[in-house]
Amino acid sequence: MKVKLFLFAFAAIASLFGISASAQSIAITNAKIVTVSGETIEKGTVVIRDGLIESVGANAKIPADAQTIDATGMTVYPGFIDALTSLGLQAPATPAPTGGGRGGGGAAAAAAAATAQAPASNSNYALGLRPELTASEDIRAGESQFDANRNAGFTTVLSVGRTGIFNGQSVLIDLAGDSVSEMVVKSPVAEHISFATIPGQYPGSLLGTFSALRQMLLDAQRQQQLLKMYAANPKGMRRPEADKSLDALIPVLNREVPVVFNANTEREIIRAVDLAKEFNLKAMVAGGQEAWKVADRLKGADMAVLLSLNLPKRTTATSPEADPESLEVLRFRAEAPKCAAKLAAAGVKFAFQSGGATAIGDFFTNAGKVVEGGLGKDAAVRAMTLGSAEILGVGDRLGSIEAGKIANLAVVKGDVFARERFVPYIIIDGKLFEQKEPPKTEGRPGGGRRGGQGGGGETPAAVPNIGGSYSITIQIPDSALSSTLNLTQSGGMLTGTMVSELGTSQIRDGHVTADGFSFSASVQYGGTAIDITVKGSVNGNQISGTIDSPQGQVPFAGTKNP
């Protein structure tokens, strides 16, 4: 049955990608082996058994039972690690519309809306301030979701959500295995913190974010103190209140679980360093594209950087009407690829991460730009293998090609930093994944390709024409906001504006399909830009749908203007 399935998958034309049932052992022969931990072997063999690397060397013995992969002309690397993603996580729960709450008491309606957004929890803290949330709880089972990342060469990723001030506790997963239990390498790895806000309630500004964090850490210190006092002698003392949010911070305060601060700019990083120092936290920063400016502080605080390879580039169109970009912005883009080299020179540890980039193939080409920016190739490889593993606390089991370590390997054809790079074989926990090289005419080898999933119904259905002007009413809790949508359609693309008392917003990423339309926009609200996502459909002259924002989801409806 297993074999049949395998053959079927292999035969499927849509699939460039096959899964081998794990043989007793695998031997990769005639390969250049970049062990990372030791010398590179120009031509040698790696032997894998029971999910572990059994032996490696120029003359390693090939077992009789081994499935042999001839990797002549190819290079074997330790499986690449993406040190920060949200891979495998459920999309954040979209709150149900508050349904019929209109006309109620203002505060009550808003509170109801807030609780409707929040998943059920016994925490004493608002959603966004719940350090007890763990990514491993939210990882979906099944390895096919990771096809694109695996095909690009990744075997292992750190995963955590991106919402809230406390993003929660991250999990390190291998990109193979049908159950979550099989995937997890380490959990929790770290507690992740964003200098974010909770719109509509405290903390609603960066000012409040810091005071809320500080107060929670102080409260957790006290919680630990009281728990100790109570454990020593409960008689005559009221029992400390159970508080799972504060309890989750105790290992953080005790430096048992490190903290990762999402901090990209110089001043965000300084704030992270200061907060870590204030509470003696074991900390690192993620993002870090201006980390080179504060390398001495990071070094002094012994903080590593999960450095984003989502290198900045200009995405706005040029226009003679627009103001020129500031020198600060122009410099930022020019300096970002040189950051890693400067961190290396200053002795700051760093690991590469994809930084939320959608085209995963860019990870390696951008790593190439970082090499052009002055970082040694070996150091660049290290920053996505052993260097990452060490920073994430798994250097003893991952990140290099050594006997006894987890058999996570990437067999690469071509220069690992080049766009033409191709990864025919990936081995994760000893399990072989094979990828057939696509015909040369097809673009973007190795990057962003989805594995075949039965591949039915790819022909696009007829796209309705929905261009025009619409008057809509957005049902914000306890009030209604009028807005005009001016939509221009070109094929499946949608452009235009959204006009309301909050100002005029340009529509971004607009799409029309047979099922409806969607776009994003930024709305100026209370002095800050709020990103919204609009989804809806047009039926005759009726338009309706939902708007998602950090505050939650609200419905809208309206009619086409004649």
């Binding site: 203002g106 505060a107 309606a109 808003a110 509509g200 309630q201 405290y202 903390p203 609603g204 500004s205 960066l206 000012l207 409040g208 810091f210 005071s211 500080r214 107060q215 102080l218 409260d219 006290r222 103190q225 009281l226 006092m229 003392m237 009221r238 110089e266 001043r267 300084i270 704030r271 290198l311 900045p312 580039k313 200009r314 995405t315 706005t316 169109a317 040029t318 226009s319 009407e321 627009a322 103001d323 970009e325 020198l327 600060e328 122009l330 410099r331 883009r333 020019a334 914000i476 809790p477 306890d478 009030s479 906001l481 008392e501 340009q506 971004r508 609200y525 209370g526 002095g527 505050q551």
Partner: protein
Amino acid sequence: MKKITAYFVLLLLVLGNARLPALAQVKSEVLIKNGTVLTASHGTLEGTDILIRDGKIAKIGKNLTASAGAQTIDATGKFVSPGIIDCHSHLMLDAINEGSLSVTSMTRVRDVLNTTDIGIYRALAGGATTANLLHGSANSIGGQNAVVKFKWGKPVEDFLVKDAPPGIKFALGENPRGTNFSQPGRPQRYPHTRQGVMETDRDAFLRARDYKRAWDDFKAGKTKIPPRRDLELEPLVEVIEGERLVHAHGYRSDEHLNLMLLADEFGFRVATLQHGLEAYKIAPEIAKHGTGVSIFAEYWGYKLEAYDAIPYNAYILWKNGVIVSINSDDDGRIRRLNEEAAKVMKYGGVPEEDALRMVTLNPAKQLGIDKRTGSIDVGKDADLVIWNGHPFSIYSRVETTMIEGETYFDRTKDIQNRAAMQKEREELEKLDINKGPATGGAPPRIPTEKVKSDTDDAENGDGGNR
């Protein structure tokens, strides 16, 4: 040959050792020659030199000499004033209002400082050296302030005036009542009336008093369990104990009086009434309470509670012995506070030196930093501005702004740097990463005619609650 080398090494060592301290000394000495010195404390001194050593004013007098190699600035025909101090600014802040709660004393402006705000450099170009960076006025009790010197290019720690007494923002009237920023989708926040604002303040101080008692009892061994540290109440305890200055935004005189009564009730003194456009109505009461007033010179009518103002406000307060400062509350106005001070000479006729004090020594007193800055006196920080004419002339401009003897704005250098910056820009714009996408791309932001209001009224970006 060997001998000669050895000799040179020896010479180098001797010279090196001998010269190092000398060099260090020279580096920290600046002599400003032959200027018209507006001291702001003891009158105007013609043809006078100022010797600066280690960032402090070492000597003021005629024909002073400095060590060899000291930086010398010829101020012949020029005016030297103390650095301008702004008692109410929101420069450098990545967030101004934590508007979610009515009491946000736990927030700290210090946490959100942006040392790369170009407004800092512009303020320096207008002669401003020091500012009281305040939380906004959305709440009855706002956040903790930061008193900074504009040390452009330095790390954030260097900006803070370390021995400045800590402060906190309070607010009265329309802003904390919330009428200025009712936002769609948000419930109206308590308090909604002026009496509600006072109740919120009183409630907070009563809680702070209880909090202090709880800690006192614990420290005295009367209780076993340590109280919870409360970051909201700690700064209010400091206010009650006179260790933290209250800077209270407000417009109406009845509210000012109420706040001063509340302060009497809890045993502290309000440090400054910010804005205080009606303060002239209660000048004697303010003087009696020992409170400073920090105002606009002649600017009002931008909201209902800002109507009953007169340009003679500063004069009347000054006449009654109140310490008055003229503030900017605005990243634009902070660049020309010298002109604002000049206006109080016109309305009522405040004498020149007293007018200058309203943007130098008086705000220093209000912020508790007058021991180190605010006037040109021996022993004070060399926070100085060299003007090409009298600072009260609109035709004058700043040539040099220095803080603690170090130059942070130099007009000549600024002009010289522009060509280099233009060249750098051209080089950077040639890079692919700085070019727009070949096709498509997000639409650029096209400037519109809408001008951001420079008042703290409802037109402002954050709902006008600064």
